[in-house]
Amino acid sequence: MSTKTPTSFEEMDCAFPSSLAEALDLMADESTRGRPLAGGTDLMVQWESGVVNRPERSISVKGLPELMGISEAGDELVIGSGVTHMQLRSSDLVQKHVPSLAEAATTVGGFQIQTMGTVGGSVANASPAGDLAPSLLITEGRVVVANREREREIPVTEFWQGYRKIDLQPDELIIRFHLPKKSAESREYWRKLGPRRAQAISKVMGSCRGQVLDGQIQSFRVAIGSVAATCVRLTGIEEWLLNRPLNESTLAEVEKRVTEEVQPIDDIRSTADYRRWVTGRMVRGFLENWLEPA
């Protein structure tokens, strides 16, 4: 039981800055600081259900122009933290350069959640079942956060520090993501397993990015969500696969090794045993895609 009395909905206030500078000014001072509110598709539910205590104040960052937009910068895509799932899934740039991210966005909630929910909000919510996390991890991109004084870059692989714990200071906001594009020769895949196709929270989901040349695995990155306190890269598997031939003995061995590498838990959505088995099948299934033409 929390000793602090939760803020009632009547007492909660919400500030609506009209620019990023104004929002960062509010965040800079302890007396004006509030819980950043983006699309509200996670927070509004958590506040309503009491899973998370309502803050005394929240700061709406929804639609701030500085947080919007998807653009190219050389070998990277730059995606504003305020970009919605609907914008991700409809973006030609995302579909071409980080296709698993576009695909993951189509599986978040339903249309109404996708029009409001944002990539920054999903990352900040830091659920181990957050559907965008695997595709962000396999890009080995960077998160850019800022306070009033400066910007700071963090590798995506280090941003989620533990269960619902992120590398963000109280005066900082998540601004944008820099995601290295996949090469023309590489492919990405996404898979989500839940009790039904729409609106279900994942039992297990994941993304991979890899390249296979003449039947030999040149590179392979894979990240799986809902099997640990944060979404995880299976680096042991990635290293083991490097330069191996893509054949049945590799597939059988990788499936076995994956079930040994992941340490999922039993919870309301699934069991540890099932998750371990399914993760092995999922990674094997990812690799089997390369046996077919792109």
Binding site: F9, E10, E11, M12, D13, C14, A15, F16, G39, G40, T41, M44, V45, E48, S49, S60, K62, M86, G109, G110, F111, Q112, I113, Q114, T115, M116, R197, A198, Q199
Partner: protein
């Protein structure tokens, strides 16, 4: 006590100005303050889709939004679909194809599908089912809802074709 925010919004084509507490839900504002009770509230935690409204033309869940977020934006509720006493073609199609049983989910389905049909004038069944994946019908009348949507799409195409002067195709 939370302070009151003055908001200027546009609901169903009409300008609305109001003073609201920062915490007031958009769904409560629409139903309780504006008395537009066509927007239904089902689960109240973002799952059922009954409270779907258009927020700058995009289907959004009003139970997960604050009234203050309507400031400077356009809202359309189910009451805004009919014009000059005539139902929207999708509403007519729901009637014709029995796209509603108890009717509780209907406003949400309509508000999800109206912008969908504007973007997808000739959808197939799978695309329609993807579009309504965020709406739950407790009577499980999905087949009739899909049929109604496909009928509305066809009728709207035919009407558009007639206006263009080109020949309508089946």
């Amino acid at each position: 006590m939370s302070e009151l925010h003055t908001i200027q919004t546009n609901i169903n084509g009409k300008p609305v100005e109001a003073s609201v507490p920062g915490r007031l839900l958009l769904s409560d504002f629409i139903r309780e303050e504006l008395r537009l009770t066509g927007t239904h509230v089902g689960c109240e935690h973002g799952v059922c889709g009954a409270c779907t409204i258009l927020y700058d033309g995009l289907p959004s869940r009003s139970c997960l939004m604050l009234a203050v977020q309507a400031d400077g934006h356009e809202i359309v509720t189910v009451e805004g679909l009919a014009s000059n006493g005539e139902l929207h073609p999708l509403q007519e199609a729901f009637k014709a194809k029995h796209g509603l049983q108890c009717g509780y989910c209907t406003p949400g389905f309509l508000m999800t599908l109206v912008p969908f049909l504007a973007e997808h004038p000739d959808p197939d069944e799978a695309t329609v089912r993807d579009a309504i994946s965020g709406n739950l019908c407790r009577c499980t009348g999905y087949q009739s809802i899909v049929d109604a949507t496909l009928l509305a799409a066809r009728q709207m195409r035919e009407k558009a074709g007639a206006v263009d002067g080109s020949e309508a195709t089946s």
